[in-house]
């Protein structure tokens, strides 16, 4: 993180980086390879990456993990709950070898399994919503930045309108009127689709603005003129000359948008307009736990920590990635 190496290649001189010395200099190192070398040395970012990989593995292997270490997430365990107080039997919310994070009050559902399954919803929605934002934002940003003029003016105003939109209120209203089936989807699938659409569709202007700015400055770079003076056509300019230079900001922005979207999904579930119970979501678990925090705050901990660790991991990794790809941004 300390190497003074120029990556996005404008005015500054490239100083040979210490880490590159002594290695074979004939085979060139692309900026991507250099960024990777730099990222590997960033312990914090790598820790974030490890957590992210574990999270993804967890959500993909949720059924297996739960089979080995827990109980089906929607099974009731009345034997674990004190019938009078409705609180779990045993300390710390009923933590035991059988129920690693304890059980829920009232029904005694296994908190461990619900946290594990909750990661599926969180990551699925956050990834797909981010993908949607990034696709729309990149396309619109490139169009605005490359064509400029009234096209740019129009897209920029559109972005302003989207950013002024009270997205949370809109989400609450829309989630309330989602029918039971539409677009060939039913129940949870439809709700997940609608939430992905809302989060993804209303967040694209953030990506759009970044990409527009980058495209605008790339277009003025002389290597684009150089390609034109060789007879390059527009698709070549866009895909071969400009897009490779946009990959870094797109990647960085995506990793930083994912945690925002995780929080947004959690907020929707918390407010009861996300994915419907009984399906386990971190936001929904938090919401349930708030009814009990005066009696026993323990139940806030598993979903709260899950959200915290996930968001933190993505942010740390995203920051490290940004530094690795463009050290000047610090």
């Amino acid at each position: 993180m300390t190497a003074p190496l120029e990556v996005s290649g404008s005015e500054t001189t490239a100083e040979p980086e210490a880490v590159l010395q002594g290695v074979d200099k004939i085979e060139g190192r692309s900026l991507g390879q250099i960024a990777w070398l730099r990222l590997k040395r960033d312990k914090v970012a790598m820790a974030g990456a490890v957590v992210i990989i574990l999270l993804i593995a967890t959500s993909l292997l949720a059924p297996l993990i739960v089979k080995l270490l827990g109980h089906p997430p929607n099974d009731f365990h009345y034997d674990q709950v004190n019938a009078d107080t409705q609180l779990p039997i045993g300390s710390y919310g009923g933590v035991s070898r059988d129920h690693l994070f304890g059980v829920e009050p009232v029904n005694g559902r296994d908190l461990f399994s619900r946290v594990i399954y909750g990661s599926q919803i969180s990551l699925l929605i956050a990834f797909l919503a981010t993908l949607l934002s990034v696709i729309i934002g990149t396309v619109m940003g490139i169009i605005a930045g490359y064509f400029g003029g009234w096209v740019d003016a129009g897209i920029s105003r559109l972005m302003d309108i989207f950013l002024a939109f009270p997205i949370l209120l809109f989400a609450i209203a829309l989630a309330g009127v989602v029918p039971d089936n539409a677009f060939g989807l039913t129940g949870d699938g439809l709700r997940i689709g609608v939430i992905i659409f809302i989060i993804g569709f209303f967040n694209w202007p953030y990506v759009g603005r970044v990409i527009r700015g980058q495209t605008l400055s790339l277009r003025e770079r002389e290597f684009v003129d150089a390609a034109r003076s060789l007879g390059a056509r527009r698709p070549y300019l866009l895909y071969k000359e400009m897009l490779p230079n946009l990959v870094a900001p797109i990647l960085v922005y995506s990793t930083l948008l994912i945690p925002t979207n995780i929080l947004f999904e959690a907020a929707l579930s918390f407010l009861g307009v996300g994915v419907r119970p009984p399906r386990a979501t971190w936001g929904g678990m938090l919401s349930d736990a708030t009814h009990w925090y005066q009696v026993d705050p323990w139940f806030l901990l598993p979903p709260g920590l899950a959200i915290f660790v996930t968001v933190l991991a993505f942010n740390l990794f995203g920051d490290g990635l940004r530094d690795a790809l463009d050290p000047r941004s610090r």
């Binding site: 490239a14 004939i26 692309s30 003029g149 009234w150 390609a227 060789l230 007879g231 070549y236 230079n245």
Partner: protein
């Protein structure tokens, strides 16, 4: 090396001629992007470039040199005037019609850092001309690229390296190799050395001169001061605020500058004592270059000219030939031959 060079006309023919060349950049404001003003970057240039010569285009920052270069290579369309290349009017050619002609006119760019795509290898950069023009080279593109790298003094083994691994001077050589790939007839070099260390400038200039001899290239070299191009120019054109103020053979321009602006530029150039025939005082121009959005009337230099008289702001001095091969646009030229004064 492939020889895509056609038979060349004898030296001295006009390879490229521009008349009344003009480029105004619209300045747009507001929601509807209405045009509120125009930057008169280039405003009526007349000159021609002769086969095999080096024509230097000199002027202060912002006077429209790069814009002129981009017009000559038809990277941008002129607002007015005419560009004739090898007898063919290319002023308004579409991108598609222009494409094959691009082999003959190439450009070396001002900024060696900005002109090479940081995401492409040197091999891809120098090989791009062949790919974009669909040219097959006998031993493949890689061999052709390596030959070019060697030609410009780079290690051909560095084919797979990225631009950031090279110094400024090396990057400019990469840009030169790219410009050379298609064996162009005309190369427009936009301040090819101004971004480089003084110690490296001479090397790159020498390389350009060697390549000119080897491939009989015609150069338009853009520079912001007269000293850099002194030794390689055949003729020098001096620009001020989008207009040509003086155009002459190297010898007469450096020894008998006629336009007050050229005189002031030359006075800033250090001249070895032995060459100093007349005592030349350093002339410091008053004020800044006026904005090309709102240039001064008539002679654009009158706001800073020490010889200015009232006529200068009313009547524009035309560019006229006052001595053989020496054109000047000034009402009261210096060093003018006696006959012209009468």
């Amino acid at each position: 090396m492939t020889d895509t060079t056609p038979a060349r006309p004898p030296l001295g023919d006009e390879l490229l001629t521009v008349t009344g060349l003009q480029k105004y950049f619209p300045v747009r404001r507001g929601l509807l992007q209405r045009q509120v003003a125009a930057v008169q970057a280039v405003d009526g240039l007349d000159f021609s470039v002769r086969t095999g010569e080096t024509l230097s285009l000199v002027g202060e920052s912002g006077c429209g040199k790069t814009t002129t270069g981009r017009l000559l290579t038809r990277l941008i369309k002129p607002t007015g005037g005419k560009i004739v290349f090898e007898g063919r009017d290319i002023t308004n050619l579409s991108d598609g019609r222009m494409r094959p002609l691009r082999r003959d006119v190439q450009m070396i760019f001002q900024d060696p850092y900005g002109s090479l795509n940081p995401r492409h290898t040197v091999g891809a950069i120098v090989g791009a001309p062949y790919r974009l023009q669909h040219i097959k080279t006998p031993n493949g593109t890689k061999a052709a690229v390596q030959e070019l790298l060697e030609l410009v003094g780079l290690n051909p083994e560095h084919y797979n390296r990225y631009p950031h691994e090279f110094s400024g001077g090396q990057r400019q050589r990469i840009g030169i190799a790219r410009a050379l790939a298609l064996r162009p007839r005309l190369i427009v070099a936009d301040e090819p050395v101004s971004a480089l260390d003084v110690s490296i400038q001479a090397q790159v200039i020498n390389l350009l001169e060697d390549l000119q001899d080897e491939f009989r290239l015609t150069y338009v070299i853009i520079a912001h001061d007269l000293s850099v191009v002194r030794h390689m120019s055949d003729r020098v054109a001096v620009m001020y605020l989008g207009k040509l103020v003086e155009l002459a053979d190297r010898k007469s321009l450096y020894e008998q500058p006629m336009h007050p602006y050229t005189v002031s530029l030359l006075s800033a150039v250090p001249v070895p004592d032995t060459e100093r025939k007349t005592r030349r005082e350093r002339i410091r121009l008053q004020g800044d270059v006026p904005s090309p959005m709102n240039p001064p009337s008539a002679c654009r230099f009158h706001t800073r000219c020490w010889k200015a008289q009232s006529v200068c702001s009313v009547e524009e001095p035309p560019l006229v030939e006052l001595a053989p091969g020496h054109q000047v646009a000034c009402h009261f030229p210096e060093n003018a031959p006696k006959a012209a004064d009468a």
